[in-house]
Symmetry: D3
């Protein structure tokens, strides 16, 4: 049981990922064929509930992508349940303080590193032998930095032991600077990203961000090493539109 | 209650469609944004069961695409149930004779034109006032021509009153000529398409076919006027691969 | 294991029933509180699929109403499955000949009376000891008479051994006389009902019909002894409208 | 994107609503035909889980009633998820202090008014263009006042900016005065309602209450302007009982 | 893509199997750990519907047991759908004639050997490259012999090309000899098994039977080489009862 | 409405229970036949979500075993929902202080004993008349003692009014003493159990523990009076393995 994302990052590579908003495990399997380093089941703004999340995690777990879950909230109950289902990392929304970061870590790790409860029925089936030390080492705890308050507290947050990476939510981050909820923005948004990157470098934490194909190169240049470039609902609409266009050109 | 596909065909246009293999109604809504003339819920080789099909039909019914269903078999029970759910046309697999075509028509039409049973709970909600004559006029009955036997019987099949269009399944048709199950083939497959098109023209039936973006122009040139150019699972994989490629280029 | 409807009919009483179009087992439990002699899970025009039907049957089975199922079609597979789930009677759509009636009976009865296959997992749990002779005796086989063809063949149909009752579908029956699909009609519809009732009396079969509160007395006067007077979706809209009206009167 | 309830209340009208305890989206559509100003998906004591709630919200959203949700608890995760699904207002149980009220507001509003996270996939589909300012303006935040403690703190609670209305839960409120959990009571319950109404008037907050047809006029006289008069499970039982009675009268 | 059961039978071994009546894919995974040569998803008397069957097939497909499905009826629609989902064999109830056996074969094989329709979405994902010839070779067609009529027609049935094995349903077979629906019986039941075995040997078809641990040795001695010895619901009750007994002994 | 576990404990008997990790209500019914005093729906490490938990509770509620639920976390929302669904007791994970224990009690009891909210739709249907005092008396509040911190605070925890029993989670408890997550351990684990038992005796609280058949006698000797001896997934694998072994012996 090992987490391939850790190997990528140890080699100072960048992990590119996809996002799962649909609740269809066949769609998740299809996304698992594409070659993403990781795929994130989004239980906050995506459609999967717990049961469907377990199916999506299993579908990704049978592919070559690493199954991560964005939980709906910094809540040990759901973090534990999706880790039990086989997620190899948890993206936690709206972490604004060291206390909240520590709570996220605690929910991701078995004692003595945290307070995760034992009972990995599906995870043990997916990953083979499941042991507490190996699980603590393999499971990524990834708080989201998505408010001005979190940026202000970034050094405290990153000083919490057990944070593997952080994940910037650009839309929500923008809103707290009174900017529109977009994937990129000017103004204070730019400085916020710089602050985050600098802090990540100094604390040895991997900086991640929600992006898209057009923004990916810019984000890599800025120093992000976990870059989400696609989501299933957007891939579907773009793929279908491209196919329809290609199939009707000359006809319309 | 009117079927926009009829208008396209009366103006001798070509209808371009998409295929729904996933069982996620949000994915169906997304496909409904793309601009397909019709979207087909595939209950034969796709994943939707009856309950999920009702949701997909409703999702498409709230878009600008016409909701069709490919039923698992030429079976009046499931034809009736998906029409009750709001489908505006039925694609019926493996229709090989006039008798089988007549059975398909019978299942699609209320008396005196057929033997469909009354009870359109969801369809009435989706399409507003639902009356038997209007429904008989709006609902498309579309047998699949996908065996050598069906090609041999094509004139008998098309002579059955109430056939609006036919739909060629190239993979299955190929198999019956001992060719691989592909979207296109040489040899007897070519002549079979010609036979079908000629018969459709002489009987005033719209010829349709399962295709893809590369084959669409060829199919239109051959005379097909109902051409499926995309499916959700293929759109998803192509869209996601394109996004991943675009998002990583220069990095790998 | 006994069927209370048989007792009502042996005493020449009339059974009054309700119809379940929703797919919510809590709603079925609520309907089970009301006092209907029977409740029919409608798998033809209602929304329940097989899994949900098993839940609705169980919900009704725990009430004082007898659980019946209207299957989607005269198909031994689904008849067997819902009997296995605990239905105490099957209403079979579109039975137009003695052959079709015999097929329905065969699907409802274990050998030597028919060809039902053994395996009543849920039914045995619901009804206690489950034996083939008792089941053959308790399970009602109820073909629908809902076409002019069926009326013409009524004597042949009712002569088939094992028919306990018939059930008139007035909307479909009307359509075959080129009348609108309503619960009641004039013209040939009237004579058709008389023919059906007379044949039922002479063959000792209980005549049943789909009705509503306004039609119930008329139907009883005509001789029907199985009269459906409500459905869950209509009860819901009428109950809610009455409550809203009562709660706003004087205010609007 | 506008909330019709706001218009009713600006004109000093009273909004009358219905309650959804079932988990069937067809039932919700049926309730949407009846004419309620709002319909509340009850995720606390009703049966819908998150997935089914998304379906119920969509069903109501396609009707003329405003979709509200009573969440199971004052929890930003579920509040965000059902707003993302298209709810136009949130009823929050057991709000007993200004702090709790402020937390509810925060979960309902995007920054800078709160901390709701961006990602309205289904809501944007249902309501068209979805913008943060318009959403903050349209989404109603409605704490429940249902304990003696809440009544004692009513002025503090109503002073929290962003409270659009409050909703009295009479059963729970009664319990905290050691009265039975009924829709109406004497004793301290009467004074509590007066206190609540007076505070609502002085703070310009709409007072709402869970009621029934018999209590509605009394509640309006007391000053309540958001009055729930029906629930789907009660409507079902009353409607079915009325239909059965009407259909059997003279027979029993 | 190969079917391990064929290897067992080519080496004249006996395959021992389990039966899946529950609808829980985790339970199917657990059964897949036990070491059965095959596991049969029972869609006739078990609880799985189509969607759940696809999940059970996938769960078994990820284990070392071969996934088979007992379909509800000899129906090409459902046979095709569960083969598409990855089943490596189909057990078909109530096959009583050569015609019915030929229909079962036709539904299991692609042209030119049959009329199965192409579209193995999930099967191709589970089994890797999926080709028509290999699929025709790997998929087992297993009619049930479970009536006196089938025994009388056994030579005709087994002469149909493409029958890999037959499967005796002892309960239903017993009923047609007017014996109780048990796993074993005396009288004509004994001769029927002999007739079946003899015919299987002379036609080179593998004889299979539904059994239990107590009957297995007897069945092997009689010549059966496909012997089902357990089902999940019986295993559950026996395992739980044994654990409860072991955990309370000395205490009660 | 009475809780049979209370009677067992008043007579100083020991209650033996089973654990439900599967999400299949038929499996729960099967477990309900076995004779366990209680059956626990595990929503923390088992697979049931809320909807499925309601079905499992109902299935157990129709058996002779008492339905309990282990909730995912000490959260009043889910505690209220499963009590509304008919659970007669709640096992609450990771209760480490008197404050947390008091919160658990508060969620389980109606005012004035707590803050549970009124609305027992399914519970009232399952248990008949449902009144607040009787419910407060019947529903068991059972915190889990599964950390060294909880053992250190055991007297404070047990002094909280309304704690009926505690339940030791040996795996998690072991982890906090840096022992492997097993059902039994040496070292500080032994003393921890003694401390717990002693405190239970002195506070009149029933001590419970998660065990297995081999450990049960030892646990009873230690003084535990609520002993879980089986789970459905383990019963399934053990029962199936035993049946397979018995059915193949002599053959392999």
């Amino acid at each position: 049981m090992e987490n391939p994302l850790k190997r990528i990052w140890q080699g100072s590579g960048t992990a590119h990922g996809g996002w799962l908003s649909l609740r269809d495990d066949f769609a998740a399997s299809v996304m698992g064929d594409v070659g993403f380093d990781y795929l994130v089941v989004d239980m906050q703004h995506g459609l999967a509930d717990y049961t469907q999340a377990t199916r999506l995690i299993q579908a990704v777990g049978h592919s070559d992508s690493v199954p991560l879950v964005r939980v709906p909230w910094n809540d040990p109950a759901i973090i534990g349940r999706v880790l039990d289902a086989g997620a190899l990392g948890i993206i936690v929304p709206m972490v604004n303080s060291a206390e909240e970061a520590a709570a996220a870590v605690r929910a991701c790790r078995y004692a003595p590193d945290g307070a995760r409860s034992w009972g990995p029925l599906l995870a043990a089936r997916l990953h083979g032998a499941y042991e507490t030390a190996a699980a603590n080492d393999s499971v990524l705890c990834i708080p989201m930095i998505e408010t001005a308050a979190a940026v202000a507290a970034i050094d405290d947050i990153l000083a919490v032991p057990g944070i593997d990476a952080i994940y910037v939510g650009p839309a929500d981050l923008s809103l707290t600077y009174e900017l529109p909820p977009a994937g990129d923005n000017d103004g204070p948004f730019v400085g916020a990203l710089e602050t985050i990157i600098d802090a990540c470098i100094s604390h040895g934490v991997v900086p991640g961000i929600h992006a898209n194909p057009m923004l990916a190169a810019k984000r890599r240049d800025q120093g992000f090493r976990m870059v989400t470039v696609s989501s299933d609902d957007q891939a579907l609409v773009q793929g279908a539109a491209a196919m329809l266009r290609a199939g009707t050109v000359g006809d319309l």
